[in-house]
């Protein structure tokens, strides 16, 4: 992880000092020219880092919005890969980025005391997250139909996930 942040910092450094660097030596590597490598790097970030990366520049923001990155994030540490039928359901219910934000991240952080990243999911936790995600969609659809809240507000029955737990 430190290597990645280091590489990100290097990239930023490159962007910040164009002229002085140019005169002395031409930069040999500019990450934004190699989008496939950039995507590979982004795929390995954890949730908060991915969110931060999305704020770097427009290109990174566009890339980070790609739902497949978040799909990797959601299921990266599942012991067995989820069946292919999962993706269309998740996409229909709001996408992986939302799944991560609303369900996966709170479930993971509540259920594990150790490091968020290295933990391995169990199938049951995946199943629970998906169920809660579906409940979230159902409540949102009801709310929109009734002329209520914004499309992105979390459903109230999942408020218990959003509220802070006593640390």
């Amino acid at each position: 992880m430190s290597y990645l942040s280091h590489s990100i910092q290097n990239t930023m450094h490159h962007q910040k000092t164009p002229s002085s660097e140019d005169r002395e030596k031409r930069p040999k590597f500019f990450i934004n020219d190699h989008i496939d490598i950039l995507v590979e790097i982004l795929k390995r970030l954890d949730g908060p880092s991915l969110g931060v990366a999305a704020c770097v520049c427009r290109l990174w923001s566009t890339l980070a919005r790609n739902d497949s990155l978040w799909e990797h994030l959601c299921f990266r540490h599942v012991s067995s890969p989820p069946p292919s039928s999962v993706r269309p359901v998740v996409v229909a219910l709001g996408g992986y980025k939302r799944l991560y934000r609303v369900c996966v991240r709170p479930v993971l952080s509540r259920l594990s005391d150790s490091d968020l990243v290295r933990r391995v999911w169990t199938r049951d936790e995946v199943q629970l997250s998906l169920s809660l995600f579906c409940v979230d969609y159902y409540e949102r659809s009801g709310r929109l139909g009734g002329g209520g809240g914004g499309g992105d507000s979390s459903a109230s029955s999942l408020m218990f996930l959003c509220n802070t737990v006593n640390v």
């Binding site: 509540r110 629970l128 579906c134 009801g142 109230s156 408020m159 996930l161 802070t164």
Partner: protein, 589 residues
């Protein structure tokens, strides 16, 4: 640096309307606050953001005074606030000074009679211990009105820095442990240093009334039970007097105990004066209340998830499935089941749902609306869906033939009832009729969730005691829940209506006839059903679900001979069980 900050403090003028401007001046001084943290002389940052200036070292004092103020104001209200003078109280954002001035006014107005509103009874044995303190010493430790369960110790959030430990804290710890009553209570609201009761009595010149609230709590329960006894013996005069006592005693309590006592007192009063609550035909209102209850605490979610797990396992190989829901309400149970069916290995079955509900007062078709929402969801996740709604005043009015159930080789049937069967006990013969209807539907599985309590005994006093214990636990579990306070209040109203029904109503009106799992097992067995064990998957899911709830360490999932119970600490509160037809030929699972 410090002086600058104080200057901005003294700048502001009293009224609350101006605190927005004062908070901006606070923000300027924020950087300075951090540096002042070390000596503990700075203002508490959290309150400062709201516009209240309270020094961190004063927090415990201010909290204590606020408690006293609330107590005194609560009792003063019964005699009318008019006795307050026209003193103007300035600067509420200087919380410490403002509370002091309010308290001093109450003290001077009521004078030595301050104990009167609280203990109006001529019976002096009700006055437990009142101390007038004129010293700096910490008073009788049991006189703390609030005791903090260490789980909810707000100290933990900002860390020790904000609440400077004093040498008194170790004493406070041991005191706190002694104070834990069997019915726990939490402190009222305030964000200030609840945990740090390094309490020092501030003003030696002013007499302070300290109430021994633990004793009062015990007396409160005794008075409630005594009142119920009086009602049982039809001694209505005595019951009336006792009910009024309960109101006064309840005012001195905090948290769950106060709320429970208030609801029970109201229910008793209704029973005594025969002002029965009108039968709420307004089911949409009770639906709303139940929604808030659903959101606040895990009981309904537990019920849904465990029942769904049993249904899912029963539907393992079926290609067309039909669920009959005895109480559709908002249909919150079914999205999760549909999602699990959608992701079933081998693809989803065709899902048919029959929802049963009570008639709506305004003739809207609530069932169809819910059905439509579910249909939308089904289309989104790719599950073939069919819905029918049935309006019925009582489940006993249903005939299986109305439901158009297809034969077992075409569709697999599940019957689900969440808290819908116990009202049938109000009419003789209704339960038996419904159970035989269920049998006629030939379900593969029947899931039943009910409250785990016996509120249907023949003797009123026994019912009362059971209910008191049950709802005390329930309210206690709600106290720790986070979330908008409106949800909490609505959940309490929801439970309050149940309490009212159990205590105040009789005959056909008393529909909250809860029975224990053992009793339901007996009924199901004699009606011709066999128990189906809920698997470990259900247990795991339930445990995970509970772990997600803030304050979740109090909840317990228990397995009881194949059924699951959810409880608060040692007391089970709701139970899920699954059943199949006895000696049925297609019962291979």
């Amino acid at each position: 640096m410090k002086r600058d900050h104080r200057d901005t403090c003294t700048d502001q003028n009293g009224s609350k309307g101006e605190y927005s401007s004062s908070s901006s001046s606070v923000l300027n001084g924020k950087a300075k606050i951090w540096e002042e943290y070390q000596d503990g002389c700075g203002d508490d940052e959290l309150l400062a953001v709201l516009g209240y200036k309270v020094r961190a070292s004063d927090m415990a004092e201010v909290a204590e005074k606020l408690e006293q103020l609330e107590m005194v104001m609560g009792s003063a209200q019964e005699d009318g606030i008019s006795q307050l003078s026209d003193t103007v109280h300035y600067n509420p954002s200087d919380l410490s000074g403002w509370v002091q001035s309010m308290l001093s006014e109450f003290n001077t107005v009521d004078g030595s009679a301050i104990d009167d509103p609280l203990f109006v009874a001529a019976d002096s044995s009700l006055i437990t211990s009142i101390h007038f303190s004129n010293s700096h010493q910490i008073e009788n430790p049991a006189s703390r009105v609030f005791h903090d369960d260490s789980e909810y110790d707000l100290r933990a959030i900002p860390g020790v820095a904000a609440y400077p430990q004093t040498h008194l804290d170790s004493e406070a710890e041991s005191r706190r442990k002694r104070l834990k009553t069997s019915i726990g209570s939490n402190s009222i609201g305030s964000n200030s240093g609840v945990g740090a009761d390094s309490g020092f009595v501030s003003d030696p010149a002013r007499p302070l009334v300290l109430v021994d609230s633990q004793e009062t709590g015990v007396r409160l329960v005794h008075t409630l039970v005594a009142c119920a006894e009086a009602v049982q013996q039809e001694n209505l005069k005595l019951a009336d007097a006792l009910v009024k006592h309960v109101g006064l005693l309840a005012a001195s309590q905090a948290g769950a105990m106060r709320k429970v006592a208030t609801y029970f007192a109201e229910a008793l009063a209704r029973r005594i004066y025969r002002i029965y609550p009108q039968d709420s035909l307004d089911s949409s209102y009770s639906d709303i209340l139940q929604m808030h209850f659903y959101e606040t605490c895990p009981y309904l979610k537990f019920a849904h998830f465990t029942a769904n797990q049993a249904i899912l396992e029963a539907f393992a190989t079926a290609s067309r499935v039909h669920v009959i829901d005895f109480g559709l309400k908002q249909g919150m149970q079914w999205p999760a089941l549909m999602q699990a069916l959608a992701l079933r290995p081998g693809g989803p079955p065709a899902f048919r749902l029959t929802g049963i509900g009570p008639p709506q007062p305004d003739n809207t078709d609530a069932l169809q609306q819910v059905g439509w929402k579910l249909a939308q969801l089904a289309e989104t996740i790719g599950v073939e869906f069919e819905f029918r709604g049935f309006v019925a005043n009582s489940l006993a009015d249903l005939e299986p033939s109305m439901l158009e159930i297809r034969p077992p080789d075409v569709e697999t049937v599940a019957v689900n009832s969440c808290f819908e069967i116990h009202p049938l006990l109000a009419r003789p013969g209704a339960v038996e009729k419904v159970l035989s209807s269920i049998k006629a539907m030939k379900p593969k599985i029947v899931t039943i969730v009910e409250q785990e309590a016996n509120h249907n005994g023949p003797i009123f006093l026994d019912r009362f005691n059971e209910a008191l214990h049950y709802y005390s636990n329930l309210f206690d579990s709600l106290e720790g829940s986070s979330g908008p306070s409106q949800d909490l209040v609505m959940s309490e109203v929801y439970l309050g209506r149940q309490i009212c029904n159990v205590v105040a109503c009789e005959g056909q009106d008393r529909v909250e006839r809860h029975e224990t799992l053992t009793q339901w097992r007996g009924r199901m067995d004699s009606a011709g059903f066999d128990l189906v064990h809920l698997g470990s998957n259900a247990f795991k899911q339930a445990s995970m679900l509970l772990a997600l709830f803030a304050g979740g360490d109090g909840y317990r999932v228990e397995e009881n001979n194949g059924s699951l119970m959810l409880g608060w600490h040692t007391r089970p509160l709701i139970a899920t069980s699954a059943w199949q037809l006895a000696s049925s030929t297609e019962s291979t699972r």
